[in-house]
């Protein structure tokens, strides 16, 4: 057993990592629905879910259980094979794309093996391309679901979404070319490291500033690719009932739902990596006191969770919430006491914070913006985003060429 483990260590590590990441991503997905409902509710001056558990924290669990136990009818006249394949395809592709994201630069040394944060190998030299390849295949989940349902609203939703995804994929791909030119690599780690050339510049060293046009195009196209507001025409409920997933119920519907939220997370990670310096701190490298920021956030938050939990008379409120609060406070204190651990935690901390900000922007947009009309959507993609991203590529190339010619550093 021990010998088998030793010879296949890489394989075992990868499998454990996959299981762990899958668990984390699915949990985050569940709580993302809670987060979204809560934030949109507060934008609209409502409370949002607050009956199931303190602050409605058990709502995702209740929803998950409901998905499992609901009746799962297969409508008459569907193309059975494709009807079952579509949600599987959507979920599998969405979850695969997460595997390519690196979450931190340093390795943890465990059992004599360097374990890096993220599943993909360090030298995955086609990182960005692989992500785009997976996104490109993601269209099939939606298109096939719409077609196989043998019903007119899903078919229209599927057609709309494939047209939309084909149109915006062009702008999405063109908009990152500027970043790739600046980094000179498809490797996601190289792209982040290329933004760390000036450690003293902090936030001003990120790709966001030279590539502001690219970022605008990328984020807009990415929101359209994930079928979210204001580009959620494939599921415009006032026109198409629920679009491509109208005929899906129970867990098959949940699979589409999880796929959508997972692609939101992937897009947020990608935005962070491409334009916001990935795991780099926004402060100059010499400001070492900012290393205590995780503790400064964790300790008060943990104490607040303890205080808040004690106000409830339920088991979850009285025991679980104070327990979580104590764990968070202890983690915050441990970060102060153990500088080595604190240094290790910095990059993942910034990475996850930035991803959280992007997820918030997603929800914020949903609470704020109205839906595009279909012709507006097409005109926006083809006549505005695509030209801007092409101009961005040409401008970036010229600047890089000029720097090479006249030898600026």
């Amino acid at each position: 057993m021990r010998a088998l483990l030793a010879t296949n260590a890489e394989l075992v590590i990868t499998i454990v990592k996959i299981a762990l990441l899958l668990f984390i991503v699915l949990t985050v997905n569940a709580y993302l629905t809670w987060f979204e409902r809560k934030v949109v509710a507060h934008i609209q001056s409502r409370w949002g879910p607050h009956r199931v558990g303190p602050h409605g924290l058990l709502q995702p669990l209740a929803d998950g259980l409901k998905f499992f136990f609901k009746e799962d009818p297969t409508p008459a006249g569907v193309d059975k094979f494709v009807y079952y394949l579509a949600p599987l395809l959507a979920l599998a592709l969405a979850l695969t794309s997460i595997a390519i994201i690196p979450f931190g630069p340093d390795a943890i040394r465990l059992f004599n093996h360097d374990i890096y944060l993220g599943i993909a190998p360090l030298n995955l030299n086609i990182g960005v391309l692989a992500l785009f390849a997976i996104t490109a295949l993601g269209v099939y989940g939606v298109a096939l679901a719409g077609w196989s349902s043998n019903s007119k609203y899903p078919l229209l939703g599927g057609l709309r979404s494939s047209a939309q995804m084909i149109s915006y994929e062009l702008a999405l791909t063109m908009s990152v070319v500027g970043v790739l030119l600046m980094a000179g690599s498809f490797n996601l780690r190289d792209i982040i490291n290329a933004q760390a050339h000036h450690p003293e510049w902090g936030i001003f060293g990120w790709n966001l500033w030279p590539q502001i046009l690219g970022f605008f195009c990328f984020f807009t196209a990415a929101v359209a690719e994930t079928n979210r507001v204001p580009f959620d025409l494939p599921e415009a409920e006032s026109e198409l009932v629920a679009g491509f997933h109208t005929e899906y119920a129970s867990f098959k519907f949940a699979m589409f739902f999880i796929a959508e939220y997972t692609s939101m997370i992937t897009v947020s990670c990608l935005c962070t990596i491409m334009f916001f310096g990935g795991w780099l701190s926004p402060f100059p490298a010499s400001w070492t006191f900012t290393h205590y920021l995780p503790s400064v956030i964790l300790i008060p938050f943990g104490l607040w969770v303890i205080m808040d939990g004690l106000r409830y008379e339920t088991v979850f409120g009285r025991i679980v919430l104070p327990g979580v609060g104590t764990a968070l406070t202890a983690l915050g204190l441990a970060l102060i006491v153990l500088p080595k651990f604190n240094n290790f935690i910095q990059p993942p901390f910034w990475f996850l914070s930035k991803v959280l900000v992007f997820l918030f922007i997603y929800v914020w947009m949903r609470g704020t913006l109205p839906r595009f009309r279909y012709d507006q959507l097409m005109a926006f993609g083809w006549k505005l985003l695509l030209p801007i991203s092409i101009v961005n590529v040409v401008l970036t190339s010229f600047v890089i060429l000029a720097k090479m010619q006249w030898g600026h550093p």
Partner: protein, 167 residues
Amino acid sequence: MSTPHIVFFVLAALAVIGAINLILQKHPIHSALSLIVVMVALAGLYLLMGAEFVAAVQIIVYGGAIMVLFVFVIMLLNAGVEEHTSLSKLAGPPGLLLVAALAAFVAATIAKSGASVQAAAQTGALSSTKGISEMFFKDFVYPFELTSFLILVAILGAVVLAQREKN
């Protein structure tokens, strides 16, 4: 048998089965799906040869863009199950003979150039992104630009045809 061999045979079998299934399926969407399986399996084979860039582009261009367009058009036209006409005369013994001849020709070519096929399978430096771009934009820049020009002409032709229909 080492792991690359196993992966190779699985992918090759997937590609061949997908291709056969493409012909046997009666519904256009099922045929299109089989073709996607072939494309993805081919991308896997490229990856096995160390051609990362070509593999990713294979999926993005063929698996993504082109096949999505196929599926989209099939859905838009709402094409039903194919009607089978009587088989072509070629599909009988003459067809089998042709297939055998073609297979023999391919096998003979591979057998004759065994060494160069081996070498082609291990062109690590050439198949990298940098190698490919240097080949395109330095050694073969004129053929490359001519091809792009050809594609541009085709696009213009499509636009002209679409406009004429409107008028």
